[in-house]
Symmetry: C2
């Protein structure tokens, strides 16, 4: 991690005080925070303008849902009593966007994703902006879209915020490298690479943050897609690779400094496979213990049954992009009101 | 209401089935709903483009907050257990936007506002998109801004969605009238007008939906600002009128079909008045019974104490605008996943 600390040194110093979440209201009108606001504004506009210019339709999705709103981790759901019904703060709007795919070829939304993370650390926020899209088409169309969105975000900052980047001490040349084609490595290759570099990891393991940072280091510390994860460790509706059913057509985007910054996949369009995968998933096993049945997923399953259209989508963690753009070591430095288990504003 | 039913007749017929929230997933890919999506997309873009073109800075605000996140009604808060702390789903991001005003002259955001309304009716959703802004400056700068935003939304629909409007049967000439300067009437004048039209209402009463519709009828059924409400019935930080301390410099925007569609006001910049108003407010009395003290509002109060800058802002209820644009009688017809006490997706 020596390289990272050197590059990010100056920036980190100016934004250092934002690692603390105490007395946040006293910090909000600091010039450094205002420069950060301008950069976040440009990042969000970069993404949104991409969706507009390429004719994605904006769809409002619910942020309080049935358990189907969790596409990440059912163990980190915030629950809400919704007039006698058990509701949860959505972790993603994915399924609700997917539901619109039969008629709209491309849709997008931005939600505040909620994750009830008990552990307070420099990598996780309990609520954060998630930029999401779904589109008709396959994996080979998906990855260039994610790359184009992230590069539109970066390019907009480079266009609008040279002054702020200089003020914060961020190396602009470094950032311009994010505009080159992103690296791409399969999960299987990545595991081999890690093993060849004395990293203790086995096929089937999830990637730890350390593993992600090592993969980045082995790819010139530039944005890198890790593709085709083991099916067993990924969400049930990620589409099985038809040549190798141990893996799914998924991709995580690793960004310098922040690591995993986007999750994406083709969605399973074969109803029978989808139901089997749901039933076999760890998520479903956990939910079954709580009394959840297939009926809870009926709306989604029926939709795929009736409209088996190949589609794919992604969720881009906005703050992870900010972190990467500014070379920050702590996610709490990325916005005004960072929420974790210790904070509330 | 005869006029309204006649104008909206055709539109209402095509979107009639959306009054029901049962089997929503079966309706999502209906052509009528897709036309609605396109119109919502254009409405949201109209507002966002206005903010961009006029250099407002986008700020991410929290959607789970202390009780200070309720600027509407503390009796309709959804509560969430946030690791031992009592949190609430935000009704607005207003105070969190205001906190940025000392350094940024103009800020905006869009949040999903949450209101735990037990009563299911055609006028209220329990979650909906709220387009919000705060800006330095007074009331006379505020109203033209709201008008400009709403008109940017309407104009964008007229530009992008002639086809969809025709398909849905909406009278375009009717809609073009929304681009004329909005009507303006003070609350006091409005009460007199209502009384002169045999409406039983007294100065100091809040405006019922029926009263709002009558005011609209008396103003050619076109967008109408009702200004300067009694201080007693409005949020504690709405700025007291310096010539008449019984009223505040506030404005509600009434839109045809939907009634109140935006709330706005100058914000109190005199610390002493602000604290007094908070203490005297009904909201505070309710909260005090639950053990809430001034300390809960300390961050906000301190901010105004340290930065007494005259500013004003508004929250525009997105779905109420959709309802008005399409001439709908039921708010459940305005989006894909309308949440009320009976629904959950």
């Amino acid at each position: 991690m020596v390289i990272i600390e050197r590059i990010g040194g100056v920036t980190m110093q100016k934004l250092e005080f934002l690692k603390s979440t105490e007395n946040r209201f006293d910090m909000l009108n600091n010039e450094v925070v205002c420069a950060l606001d301008k950069i976040n504004d440009s990042l969000m506009w970069g993404a949104m303008q991409y969706f507009k210019d390429t004719s994605y339709t904006w769809i409002e999705v619910p942020i309080m849902t049935k358990v189907t709103g969790a596409c990440e981790n059912v163990n980190t759901l915030y629950s809400v009593n919704h007039f006698g019904k058990e509701a949860y703060l959505a972790q993603t709007g994915q399924l609700y966007l997917e539901a619109k795919i039969p008629k709209h070829s491309k849709v997008w939304t931005t939600i505040i994703s909620s994750r009830a993370e008990q552990k307070v650390d420099s990598r996780h926020l309990n609520q954060f902006s998630l930029v999401e899209f779904e589109q008709q088409g396959d994996f080979e169309k998906l990855l260039p879209t994610i790359e184009a969105i992230v590069q539109a975000m970066v390019a907009n900052v480079l266009k609008e915020n040279k002054k702020e980047l200089e003020f914060l001490g961020r190396d602009i040349n470094e950032l311009e490298k994010y505009l080159k084609p992103f690296n791409r490595v399969t999960y299987t290759e990545a595991i081999k690479l890690l093993q060849a570099n004395d990293f203790e990891i086995y096929w089937g393991d999830d990637l730890s943050h350390q593993a992600e940072m090592k993969i980045l280091e082995l790819h010139n510390n530039l944005p890198t897609f890790v593709t085709h994860f083991p099916a067993k460790i990924k969400f049930f509706n990620m589409r099985l690779n038809r040549d190798n059913k141990d893996i799914v057509n998924s991709a995580d985007l690793l960004m310098p400094y922040s690591g995993e910054s986007a999750g994406s996949a083709e969605r399973e369009d074969d109803y029978e496979i989808l139901v089997d995968r749901l039933k076999e998933s760890n998520m479903y096993k956990i939910l079954a213990e709580r009394g959840v049945t297939l009926e809870t997923f009926k709306d989604y399953l029926d939709l795929i049954k009736k409209n088996p259209i190949l589609h794919a989508g992604a969720g881009i963690g906005f703050n992870r992009i900010t972190q990467s753009i500014l070379g920050l070591s702590d996610i709490r430095q990325t916005n005004n009101y960072p929420l974790n288990a210790e904070t509330l504003y």
